[in-house]
């Protein structure tokens, strides 16, 4: 079963009196455990596409299946539930909750979204923190760790729920080269270890070069791909 299947997917925004066609009928398929990158200039529709895949924004037309489920018509509660069960997010600014420790940040989706029992939850969080090399930093607050470490924590948080799909919007934009490479390596390792599909929206060539499938977007249309179904 494909991880993401989009057919004639469209998204139109109303901006003032003008309708803006952010995505203009794209078709693509993403296979499980793949490392996919959406690239393109600013305003090409990368983030819009990622938002639609992440159930944050419903499509205007077309169909979109994620993890085998048509997510085109989910309401707010259903979309939130679906995200909590299947999708992890990694953000450019890390978006860790400042009042929670590293451990608690990773624990958050299990505790507040999936209601795991305490012991099982703590074991899982520690496993993930170990996997991203932050096993001994759980007690620290986000303000006490570096940018690279924050992104590692964000990756752990995205994966802790056994999410089959992780959406990463410019995950390396705020990191230096070395740290960015480490984070990319980490995500690849996680993909290999947990079979998670990673989808990026990025300008960063380091991420693009590591992607197995590349979709290039321009003015809301798919142009070409590497290793995927668009060349």
């Amino acid at each position: 079963m494909a991880m993401v299947v989009a057919k004639q997917l469209k998204k139109t925004y109303r901006s003032g009196d003008i309708d803006v066609q952010a995505i203009q009928g794209v078709d693509f398929t993403i296979q499980p455990a793949s490392f996919v990158s959406f690239v393109g200039p600013s305003g090409s529709g990368k983030s819009t596409l990622l938002n639609m895949i992440g159930c944050l924004d419903p499509p205007t037309a077309g169909s979109l299946q994620v993890v085998g489920k048509d997510i085109s018509n989910l309401n707010r509660q259903q979309a939130a539930k679906f995200r909590g069960e299947h999708i992890g997010f990694v953000f450019q600014d890390f978006n860790l909750i400042p009042v929670l420790t590293v451990f608690e940040n990773v624990e958050y989706p299990l505790q507040m979204v999936q209601n795991w029992p305490r012991e099982k939850r703590r074991k899982r969080v520690q496993e993930l923190l170990e996997a991203v090399g932050m096993g001994d930093q759980g007690h620290k607050f986000p303000s006490q760790i570096s940018g690279g470490q924050k992104q590692r924590v964000a990756v752990a948080r995205a994966l802790v729920t056994n999410a089959s799909l992780v959406l990463a919007d410019e995950p390396t934009a705020n990191l230096d080269s070395t740290t960015a490479n480490h984070v990319i390596e980490l995500m690849k390792k996680m993909r290999d270890e947990f079979g998670t599909t990673f989808i990026f929206s990025t300008h960063d060539p380091r991420v693009v070069n590591n992607a197995e499938t590349i979709f290039t977007l321009e003015d809301g249309k798919l142009l070409q791909g590497k290793g995927g179904n668009h060349v």
Binding site: N51, G54, L56, D57, R76, Q77, A80, K81, F82, R83, G84, E85, I87, F89, F91, D93, N95, I97, P98, V99, L100, Y108, P109, Q111, M112, V113, R157
Partner: protein, 414 residues
């Protein structure tokens, strides 16, 4: 729920200064309300106690129309034998009645053999009167308190005693006109001097009821009023309703009501002061509600605005809108709770301190009244619950806004 509680608590700690400032404002409001309620309540209950326990009793029964002309102390509107019996029977049946006292109220000329003045008198059965208004004896600033008054004795109000230069054991004469217009005089020995207090009857002299009957040449056992003391003042409304129904329904041959029943509230002008105090208390409570509403709403609006990105993040992770709503409501609740708890604590300590330091004050002609503020658990709970409920209410709009926030817009917010 515990997770939401923990997260809300951490967020309040994150903005510690703001949390402390807001909760201090609530604390200040709570302290103002509770101290005002306790002090005004103490003053009110003291005054009410003084009025009911040393003058009026809790309720009074008169013949219909007596109260309207009480300033003239009419003798032709007294209750008579059969009527008194009906009232007695009704009172004996009521288990809430602790005691009652028959009184004749009359006006007389008071002479010390050199000067004459007028005096209002309460003629009582001492035994009944002490049971009905037990603090009456405490108002005697001179003289023997035991037994209150015997036949041939008079308790002279302080002002007349001073004005007429009358002292204990002096002989005086009372001259009164009865309802038929016949004038009669009788000598009395000054048994005691009575402290004057505010309110009706607060400056009346006291004689024995048998002396009044003799002075007025009453052949029947008439009384002007029957003062009633209840076991608990809280039952006053019930007893009043009961007596009003029982006695108020009785009619004479001309089909007109025979009796009128009144609570002390109707009889004393202090009740209006008490109502004014209640109104001020209500006003202060409304102010408190406004303070809580505005401060919590302001803080919560700020909290939502400052954490838009964070709201987007937790929404993206799958946190349900209901949980986001609960998170912000919990923050408002905790702010209210913090302010309330510290406010209640400070108020109780202040009330305790005031009681220990024995603060006294003057009210009218009364000096050295002891301020003994106290507050009931019910009042504390009511104020606390109102504040906490308002805190939650004030958080609703910002919390709703946070819960309904579009995750994408929120995540884009810088």
């Amino acid at each position: 729920m515990f997770n939401i509680f923990k997260l809300a608590l951490r967020n309040l700690r994150r903005y510690m200064r703001r949390t402390l400032l807001t909760s201090s404002l609530i604390t200040l409001g709570i302290v103002a309300v509770l101290l005002f309620v306790s002090i005004s309540g103490s003053f009110k209950s003291m005054m009410v106690g003084q009025i009911t326990d040393s003058m009026l009793g809790h309720l009074q029964v008169h013949r219909k129309g007596y109260l309207a002309s009480i300033d003239n102390l009419p003798l032709d509107r007294n209750l008579k034998g059969k009527q008194i019996k009906v009232v007695e029977e009704a009172l004996e049946k009521d288990k809430n009645v602790a005691a009652y006292s028959m009184r004749i109220k009359l006006g007389a000329m008071f002479s010390n053999y050199t000067e004459t003045t007028n005096i209002r008198l309460n003629a009582v059965n001492p035994e009944q009167e002490l049971k009905t208004v037990p603090m009456l004896a405490e108002r005697m600033i001179e003289g023997k308190k035991e037994g209150l008054v015997a036949k041939g004795e008079i308790l002279v109000p302080e002002l007349i005693a001073k004005g007429m230069d009358v002292k204990l054991n002096d002989s005086i004469v009372l001259v009164a006109t009865n309802k038929d217009g016949s004038v009669n005089g009788q000598p009395f020995v000054v048994r005691g001097i009575l402290e004057g207090i505010s309110g009706p009857g607060g400056r009346d002299g006291i004689i024995h009821i048998d002396d009044a009957r003799a002075l007025l040449r009453m052949e029947d056992k008439e009384v002007s009023e029957i003062a009633i003391r209840l076991k608990k003042i809280q039952s006053m409304k019930d007893v009043f309703a009961n007596l009003d129904t029982t006695l108020g329904s009785l009619k004479n041959q001309m089909d007109k009501p025979v009796f009128e029943v009144h609570t002390w509230e109707k009889l004393s002008p202090f009740f209006n002061i008490a109502r004014m105090i209640d109104l001020m208390t209500l006003f202060i409570k409304v102010m408190l509600v406004a303070i809580v509403l505005v401060s919590i709403m302001n803080v919560m609006i700020m909290a939502v605005y400052e954490r838009i990105n964070e709201i987007g993040t937790i929404a993206a992770m799958g946190t349900s809108p209901n949980k986001i709503l609960a998170l912000f409501i919990m923050e408002g609740f905790l702010l209210g709770l913090l302010g309330t708890l510290s406010g209640v604590l400070i108020s109780l300590l202040a009330i305790g301190a005031m009681n220990i330091s024995q603060i006294s004050f003057d009210f009218g002609r009364q000096e050295g009244l002891l301020l003994s503020p106290s507050i009931g658990v019910a009042e504390v709970l009511t104020v606390s619950l109102i504040v906490i409920a308002i805190a939650v209410l004030a958080s609703l709009q910002p919390a709703w806004k946070a819960a309904r926030m579009d995750p994408i817009t929120a995540l884009r917010h810088v």
